[in-house]
């Protein structure tokens, strides 16, 4: 299976989004799923262009609204494998409420957040995960607020699968493979340095270490809560190590499995119901 399109990419040369795209393709092409069983949704931002580069159905939606669209797709047809792609602007600013509630609902879909710690497509303004002191043309006085720790937030909100990886083909492929196996809501943050507006974060590449290889037990919630404290998204220049991999994974009741109406639906979902 090949899920590429022949659309010419408009990402900047060398953008880590290319690595993410390659990792996503490898994971999905080898997933054993048919092309019409997989659906993608994107928000608005540089990351969202991935919609045009994957030959899969879905919706290139609004800024911040990836989660409700993914949720709605599952309610329309629970048999679909749904992947949503957001930016940090999407997921943590414009649509934060949806991000939190998705963790709470635990519907079975995969939420991928490309976190470059800036609004890139609108030329580099700060997001909720930008470090203190960051300056751009709209914030000449510098960012004053401490960044949000999304991994901690997702753990606190009840997400049943919480992971963070770096924008590396292998890491992305592996984590999506794991997420496809998980039943329930999967939150995956990808550290995706923006070469233009936030190049310092490229150094993350050398600071990351693998949680699973270091013996972290992903079913241990307290251990996960400890691990998230190691990187606070603010100390981007220091040498502190950044844990990547699956922080937490547990089996929880799945939203759509609790509605008898949805249990009865065939491969076409409601579309297959004739009345």
């Amino acid at each position: 299976m090949n899920i590429s399109t022949n659309v010419k990419s408009t990402w900047c040369p060398g953008c880590p989004n290319f690595m993410i795209l390659a990792g996503v393709k490898k994971a999905l092409e080898n997933s054993g799923k048919k092309q019409n069983e997989m659906v993608i949704v994107s928000g608005i931002g540089c990351h969202a262009k991935i919609f045009d580069y994957l030959n899969l159905p879905g919706l290139n939606s609004l800024h911040g609204r990836v989660p409700p669209v993914c949720f709605g797709l599952k309610m329309g047809n629970p048999n679909l494998s749904v992947l949503g792609f957001s930016g940090d602007g999407d997921a943590y600013a414009e649509g934060l409420e949806h991000t939190i509630h998705s963790a709470r609902y635990n519907s079975n879909w995969i939420y991928i957040v490309h976190n470059n710690q800036v609004f890139s497509l609108t030329t580099g303004q700060p997001t909720p995960t930008t470090e203190i002191g960051y300056k751009d043309k709209t914030t000449p006085l510098g960012v004053k607020t401490f960044p949000l720790n999304p991994i901690k937030l997702m753990l606190a909100s009840g997400a049943s699968f919480v992971a963070r990886v770096f924008a590396d083909i292998q890491q992305v492929e592996n984590v999506i493979k794991e997420a496809l196996k998980h039943k329930g809501f999967c939150f995956i943050e990808i550290l995706q340095p923006c070469l233009i507006f936030h190049p310092e974060t490229l150094k993350y590449k050398n600071k990351i270490y693998d949680l699973q290889k270091s013996g972290h037990k992903k079913q241990d919630f307290q251990a996960a809560m400890k691990k998230v404290e190691e990187f606070d998204y603010n100390e981007i220049k220091s040498d502190t190590k950044i844990p990547v991999g699956i922080f937490y994974q547990v089996q929880k009741p799945i939203f759509e499995e609790q509605f008898p109406q949805l249990q009865k639906l065939g491969p076409l979902g409601w579309k297959g119901i004739k009345r």
Binding site: F51, R65, P68, L73, H98, Q261, W270, K271
Partner: protein, 496 residues
Amino acid sequence: MRYNILFGGQAGQGPNILGEILGEALVKQGYYVFYSRDYQSLIRGGHNFNVLTFSDSPIHSNDSKIDVLVALDENTKKIHSTKMKKEGIILDGKHENMYFAGRLFKLLCLDFETLNQELRELKKKYEENLKNAKLGYEEETKNICHVKNQKNKIYFLNGSKEISQGAIESGLDVYYAYPMTPATPVLRELAEKQIEKNYLVLEPENEIAVINSAIGSAITGAKVMIGTSGGGFDLMTEGLSMAGIAGVPLVVYLAQRPGPASGVPTYTAQGDLNIARHAGHGEFPRMVLAPGDPIECRELTNQAFYFSQKYKIPCIVLNDKHLAESFYSLKEIPKIIKSQKTISLGKFNSYESTSEGISTEDSKRIEKNNIERLKKVWDIEKEAEKFIQYKNFGKKNSKNLIVSWGSTKGAILDAIQGLDTEFLQILYMEPFPKEILKFLKNKNIILIENNATAQLGQLITEKTGIFIEDKNKILRFDGRPFLADELNLEVKKRLN
């Protein structure tokens, strides 16, 4: 004959159930009943009242003058006794509400068994209710009229129930809503029947999630409806715009209450016609349908499903509190049409896109997409002509013409009895039936609306070039519906 009975008391004292029992019983006897609720945005205490009007000929509204006042508390007497007719009767005292049911049934010469039957259907607290009802029935000595079976098959219908019924009959698969008065009764009604009728009802975290989830479900091919009132609708507008560009069928139930902002939550208004027509940035096809009674609620919801699926557009059913929460008695059988599920999962886009759904900034493509959207508008206009877009009542070809829309229909129908005027009710607000120009020309036009700025008046001017004189605009914007007797006087003043 036309009698008005007002039931008043504190929230929690149960004036609603009294009126519903009497209404049901009268309809079964073949009488026409109109029953409305006036309640405050609180849960216990305060002052709520319901007015039941009944007659042996068709009626669709209440009057201001009261024949029987049922006062469950002292406050009710204080507030409403000034509106009593000369020979009016007040029922009061410290009693359970079914005691008053007993007295009322006796006052109308209904036999006790008809009441007993209603109490049985209530199921709850039957023995206790029966005891109280018996006491009231025995204690009442007067009667005001002799109700006897009219051998007339009438349905006791409510706006919200018929919206729900229309959605179910149209093949609803998923309904999303976030609670907001006065749209909530539809949510409740649909939620209750979801297992029996096999569809899904969900309440996501807010209205933004509601419309975006709805779009997600709709692109899988499901038939989807969402419901809200003004404030929630405001939050949905970006999603509405996305449904517009992506070509996603969506039925939007918009139940108006007085705005701006939180306005007056439990009262009525027709202030959202403009936003229904214009909400969402950019230019895209949509429909706005405005029912004026419960049968039209059912039919127009059904037509909204039909058009939204056929043309892949958002379609708004514009209701208001008065119609959503009042009970009407009607004889008509609604006309229901079938609609297909037209959507297959593909690439949908909130950006301008190619025919493959790929985002584009190509000028030719942008122009082409706009033309396609315009073409939908024209095609919808043409097909809508096959539907009943407006209705004429009253005296044909009179030199006077009343124009209105939505829930004001009821009071107008009652107010113009015997007057030299025609009444034009508009149901399709978008696409607007321009041919109504032929009725408007050279007429003394009287506009009646439940808003302050005459939004239908503006629309008529925009579409037909006809201006309605300010002195001929009867506008009510105090949150209350028109009452037939008062409206009759207002109309008379303006007749030629």
